[in-house]
Amino acid sequence: MEKLVILWDSTALAHFHYQQVIMMAVGLLLLYLAIVKKFEPLLLLPIGFGAILTNIPLAGFSEAQGLLHYIYAVGIETGVFPLLIFMGVGAMTDFSALIANPRMLLLGAAAQFGIFATLFGAIALNFVPGFDFTLKDASAIAIIGGADGPTAIFLASRLAPDLLGAIAVAAYSYMALVPIIQPPIMKALTTPAQREIKMAQLRPVSAKEKIIFPLAVLMLTILFLPSATPLVGMFCFGNLMKECAVVERLSKTAQNELINIVTIFLGLAVGSKLSAEKFLSVETLGILGLGAIAFAIGTATGVLMARLMGRFSKTPINPLIGAAGVSAVPMAARVVNKVGLQANPHNFLLMHAMGPNVAGVLGSAVAAGVLLALVG
């Protein structure tokens, strides 16, 4: 009889708080978005599952000696997991389009205005009662506008670990929503004639250029922004492994097994930050709102910059490709291509959009470095 009482007391039924139930529903929602809506499933599925696990009463997944606690301490607190992901993404990224047309970097730069405008907006939100974001919080939130998951997680783990869960979820959700968020903005800021512009074919890029490129990026970062070198350094390391063609074994492992293993753990650990006490607050709503604004502003400034460049360029520039500057590789570039095809069924912009797309990755890593240097 007594055993039955202990057993009952050891069921979750006797210990559930309603907030935990809500957070599990959030976890299930993320699983739904990942599985049915195919929203960034590689990240949102483990995050959603981690959110469910971390909110189980009595199970202690995120307490001392809990599985998620260990994973978080080893991989996120140290910053190791997002850096390894970045290495793997570097090993998957092809910079040819950017090297062939380096001016595209300006589009990647312009789109980062989404980050800095959101930083301002997050502080402005403090006028609303209930919000009290510090400059660190605001910076970590703003980086959502960088549209780059590992960068956002790395910066949040450094500047605002308490907000990490909400920031990561917002970042990946909006990256998945790029096909919905971007097109109306792109169409509003361009004329049909502009959207039909065909761009000149890109020159071929030699293997040597592709090998020197990551080293040059690293050198510039070392000289001018050492605080960005963890992110940029690992990214360039991955890219160098890919392009140098002498360590194919390592490059393949970095972009397959290693990144897969780290992705599983990273997702679970991020999900473990979706605990009731930290997520169920008005701040989360603020983060979600600000994140959407950041994406929208980044898209807009990217397109406007492309229009501006088109005015002064000898070769024609389709302003749509500016939208790819937010990164969200390769989703944003695909959206550009699709909107371009709607305007002109023979106009394939995918390769041209890859330039600003990868430029956006560098741009947001640089922005993260600036924030770390000035706010961190």
């Binding site: 730069a109 997050a122 030699s206 293997a207 040597k208 040059a216 922004l225 002498v246 741009g363 600036v370």
Partner: protein
């Protein structure tokens, strides 16, 4: 309270200007860097990197992708089947 937020806002605005300025400056520098790389590669088109096919690896077991036995088996089977079916 509000004055405090205003101070923060000023700081955020400064951050915005300095940050965007830096991002643009940095990536503009990189444009120059890429152009310099292009010129450099045009001047010194090294035979070595142009022919990365010569890549040799020296660690034991570092043979690039040996074709999987299963693949070979599958191919043999396919060829065999095909041969019979075209008889």
């Amino acid at each position: 309270m509000n004055s405090e937020i205003s101070a923060q806002l000023t700081e955020a605005a400064t951050l915005m200007l300095v940050g965007m300025g830096f991002v643009f400056a940095f990536l503009t520098l990189l444009i120059g860097g890429i152009k310099a790389i292009e010129l450099f590669c045009l001047k010194f088109p090294s035979a070595q990197t142009a022919a990365p096919a010569q890549t040799r690896k020296t660690l034991p077991g570092n043979q690039p992708h040996k074709t999987d036995p299963a693949t070979v088996a599958a191919i043999s089977a396919a060829i065999h089947l095909h041969r019979q079916s075209t008889k």
